[in-house]
Symmetry: C2
Subunit: 379 residues, 2 copies
């Protein structure tokens, strides 16, 4: 177990700008995060189908874990007794935890929301839990997160304007309570979450109000839930000018490589998404020439490696024919290899974007990336 906690206070610094895009660095008790950053999902305290050492080796600075899943199983107090989440999952590097708000809406049963918080039944065993803004902060404290998220109310879109507005205002009041409950945890950070659905005026109000609360960072939540990409981008553009420039911005649950590029171009610093890991378990690979479905029969006799430009060794060690075979046979190794290739692709994309911002060449670099996608997978 090589866990290293530093005395460093949370800090964020911007090293370079290129248009609205920012190259930055975040300091946390468990190490530095280079931004723009992609944070793989380690939902139940594991990035599915990967050893933590692999996740790190592919260029990951920080992983996301889910408060909702971990509070149900094995429980936050249990993880605290065992020395915290970093030790539990053998990941001695930075961890961000969400607050559980989104999963309560999407996974739990019989949820009931009021001013105080939300009560719901576990999707695992049906037992009843309560999650309040204060309890969400406490759970994340017990887990030992480097970055804590406030509890928010996520509404399923489309929804009536007044429903979206009420949820946004409740989330603001919960942000205040979260701020009060968080107090000063040395080195750790608290991020607030902008809500407001697809209504610009609500997004602006949410961002402006949260900006007065002096949180360590600001997330944009409630997007990437099925709305068109242009709507998502419009919401980012409406929100971004009202967020403190010196604080990191995190677009929750996003997204495809294309989504990420467009959000980076609009000033977003952090991303998380299940896509690379989930796609990997279902036979889909992200490559320099677009998304490739290894289930497709065209790969069955193809001796070529998946992506000769990949920085992930797994992309070179096995033929497309072998990957096709593993996926058809539902072999775990197929999921392992494709998950690693996809995380490798996402992290290389972030590395490329960071380098380009640093050199003031983001537009050129993005053109080059898009050329590869446009060319398509070579037959």
């Amino acid at each position: 177990m090589t866990s290293s906690t530093t005395d460093a206070a949370f800090a964020f610094s911007i090293k370079a700008n290129d248009g609205a895009a920012r190259l930055g660095e975040m300091v946390t008790p468990h190490g530095v995060i280079r931004t723009p950053a992609f944070m793989p999902c380690g939902t139940a305290a594991t990035v599915k189908a990967m050893y933590p050492g692999e996740v790190r080796a592919l260029g990951t600075d920080i992983v996301l874990a889910n408060t909702y899943h971990l509070m149900l199983r094995p429980g936050a107090e249990r993880i605290a007794e065992l020395g915290g989440l970093h030790r539990f999952m053998n990941w001695p590097h930075p961890i961000i935890t969400d607050s559980g708000g989104f999963q309560v809406m999407s996974l739990s049963k019989l949820r009931k929301i009021d001013e105080r918080g939300v009560t719901f039944r576990s999707h695992i065993d049906g037992s009843v839990y309560e999650l309040t803004p204060e309890r969400a902060i406490e759970i994340q404290y017990l887990l030992g997160s480097d970055i804590t998220m406030q509890l928010d109310e996520c509404v399923a879109l489309p929804a009536a304007d007044d429903v979206v507005e009420n949820a946004m205002r409740l989330s603001l009041r919960w942000a205040e309570r979260s701020r009060a409950a968080f107090r000063a945890q040395h080195g750790r950070a608290l991020f607030a979450i902008v809500q407001g659905g697809t209504l610009e005026r609500l997004r602006v109000e949410s961002a402006r109000t949260l900006a007065t609360m002096d949180c360590n960072g600001y997330a944009i939540g409630g997007l990437a839930v099925g709305e068109p990409q242009e709507t998502m981008l419009r919401m980012i553009e409406a929100t971004e000018p009202h967020l403190p420039r010196a604080k990191p911005r995190y677009l929750m649950g996003v997204g495809t490589p294309d989504d990420i590029i467009k959000a980076v171009e609009r000033g977003i610093d952090m991303f998380d998404c299940v896509m690379p890991t989930r796609a990997g378990r279902h036979g889909l690979a992200y490559t320099h020439f677009g998304k490739v479905n290894l289930k497709n029969a065209r790969h069955a006799a193809d001796p070529r490696s998946l992506d000769e430009h990949s920085t992930c060794a797994a992309a070179h060690d096995y033929s497309r024919a072998y990957l096709h075979h593993l996926i058809k046979a539902e072999e775990i190794l197929g999921m392992m290899i494709l998950t690693a290739i996809n995380i490798g692709y996402y992290q290389e994309l972030m590395r490329t974007l960071r380098a380009a911002i640093g050199e003031g060449k983001l537009t050129d670099e993005v053109d080059r990336i898009r050329e590869g996608w446009a060319r398509g997978d070579p037959i």
Copy 2:
């Protein structure tokens, strides 16, 4: 792809004896196999839930792949076109393939056996295949196996004596045909299979007849199919004196660590078994203190590593509580870690047995191993 084929002819040499136990070394076109050897099952061209590099690093000299599975999917001709099985599965070390006989009996549908061979329906898509002794040799040639097994008829036990006897005699005739079909494949080996159920006289007749055929090695098949351990050991003892002393002996489908020790003590050199990999996928771990069920609630809050004596890093990097959590949450990483720990345990057992035979201290060493098992998992 680091594949290395040598010009070496197949050879087996015995380096030391300790009672009936033998320390040996087998030379194949893809490298050396130290015996007694445990051969992990790479059924569908993958040792389930492990990267090939991990399988190797844990001390594996040779893996077993299944003719039955590979002939159905992706097909032997397909694998040959792709450069053979070693390249296909990125395992540049020795490979043994079974002949498909056992799986035809246990997995396929509507099988029909006659003198010529066996016809059956695939358990995957219901299509009809024929497997003859000659086709089994051809398939294994196409795969590029270092060690080829003859096609045999495996009967489900218990069975009437005449059924067992007829199957044994048919397997002898198929051995002759396999020998003729195999001809001289430079460096590669052909193993014949002793059958005869649990009837000593049939085992003796089978072994004596096969010994005249000058194969490269001899397997004992049709055991470890549910009979008591003492019956299996009695069959080994009846067979062993009639097998050529200078040739390797392989006990197919065996077994538990205890089975393996007792068979090594009776002169067996090679083993394969799905136990360590299958158990790992179901939350069971082999340790120096016996078999441990990680699903058991007693591990839920246990911060200790699984087995402080393990030579597998994975056994030290994670707590029992974490492994319990992964297994309960059905996380792939749990299967990956426990499979690696189990293969690590089996290979360390083989290493220990080999060292003990070399020093003439097998009895003492086995006592020491059994003491650990008797002590049980420390609570």
